[in-house]
């Protein structure tokens, strides 16, 4: 296949896509854990907020989220900053808008995955943590979280695949990712099929790599299932 010297452009786009996906994953995991904690908390307001968050975000198209944050975000931020007396112009770039939108969407689905995983942990584990003299937060980080992690990895792996594919949407607001760079290449070569097909193959490679990594993580997080048959 002749890329007519546009290969480096696609590679730089791939790098941007990977950066976007990983940043959104990190922020999204924080959203997901917070959401799950809120959904399982005893505080009715926290539960109500978390339910509202997951219901709303899961019913909205990701593209709409990206567009809203990119075009409306600076308006909203300036309004908030303005009420504190800050009047400079605030601009949200496509990368930041992309991370915000994708992590909000990822977080809503991850909330459910984490909630299910946390509910799988028997209550007795919390109680034995307390019986050993650990505080609730220490029990959470030492005992519960490592196990939640193991139970959540398959679900999170699927969500990350969705996230990876959704990064393509951020090209609509002008981020120089794989999609955008292929469009640049197309505008001078006039070969849309070739370059979009190459873009598709890069995405396939990325999702295949993610699948392999998820399987590796599943093994790594589950020493019990690996056993000692060695």
């Amino acid at each position: 296949m002749d890329l007519q010297g546009f290969g480096h452009l696609l590679i730089s786009g791939t790098w941007v896509t990977i950066q976007l996906a990983l940043s959104s994953l990190l922020v999204g995991l924080v959203f997901g854990l917070t959401g799950a904690a809120a959904k399982l908390s005893k505080n009715p307001i926290a539960r109500w907020l978390a339910t509202g968050y997951t219901t709303l975000v899961r019913g909205l198209p990701e593209l709409l989220l990206v567009l809203t944050i990119y075009f409306g975000g600076s308006q909203l931020l300036m309004w908030i900053a303005g009420s504190f007396g800050y009047t400079e112009y605030i601009e949200i770039g496509p990368f930041v808008a992309g991370v915000a939108a994708l992590s909000i969407a990822f977080g809503a689905y991850a909330t459910e995955v984490f909630r299910m995983a946390m509910m799988e942990i028997p209550q007795g584990q919390w109680e034995s943590g307390l019986a050993c003299g650990m505080s609730r937060s220490r029990t959470f980080f030492r005992i519960i979280l490592p196990q939640v992690w193991r139970l959540a990895i398959p679900g999170l792996g699927n969500l990350f695949q969705v996230l990876l594919k959704d990064t393509a949407l951020v090209s609509v607001v002008g981020l120089n990712d794989i999609m955008r760079q292929s469009q640049v290449a197309i505008s001078s070569t006039k070969e849309p099929f070739t370059f979009f097909m190459v873009a598709a193959c890069i995405y396939l490679l990325l999702t295949a790599a993610t699948t392999a990594f998820t399987m590796f993580m599943e093994r790594a997080a589950n020493p019990a299932a690996r056993g000692n048959r060695g």
Binding site: L56, L64, F71, Q75, Y203, A208
Partner: protein
Amino acid sequence: MTWEWDVIWKYFPRLLEGAWLTMELVLISGLIGIALAIPLALMRASKLPWIKALPFTYIYFFRGTPLLVQIFLVYYGASQFEVVRESFLWPVLKQPYWCAIIAFSLNTAAYSAELFRSAIQAIPVGEIEAAEAMGMSKNVQIRRIIMPRAFGIALPAYGNEVILMLKGSALASTITLLDLTGMARTIIARTYTPLEMFLAAGVVYLAISALIIALFRFMEYRFNRYQYYHHADTPADLDPQLRDPHIDQK
């Protein structure tokens, strides 16, 4: 920042026009998608490796790449080839409407084929064996036992797929279609009220998802009725000979 309710009220009818196109896209591509998914799922559930290979590749490609790439491949990609531009297909392929429907149908077919395949494989073996014992041929089994059962099993998961399709249909706006998102973007270009218009569009999307969820709840109740049966309480003075221990347990 001023919040302009007037703009929302003024342009709401236009948004609803867009919502209509969104629903049309979802419905038409959903139906074509099911028609494609059933043969794909049956092939995928086959035991012969060379029959499995084709649907596997198809599903792998469409599930592993973003929907945006698929839409662009159909809409922009097809025009690269002289053969396509001169064929009878060109009047169809040059319209964004049909390109969106083609891309959405191919995409949802891949996802639903996986759902149907797992549903086919979730049918209890005993039911298939019973059908065989009754002397049904493979075709009759598929028509009378496998398809209706798989439909019932796949229904809740298919409801999720339709919601995902609704969300994916927003991508139609990237190829100049005036669906709900496209309409909102057009209005914003004129009025510059992004937050108001996108919020209004979001509310309409949520309403459509609520509608879809309600529809699928109702269908589940109709088609999986066996899960909703409640036995009447057995009268206490019933002849012990007539008692059914399975019913008494509940």
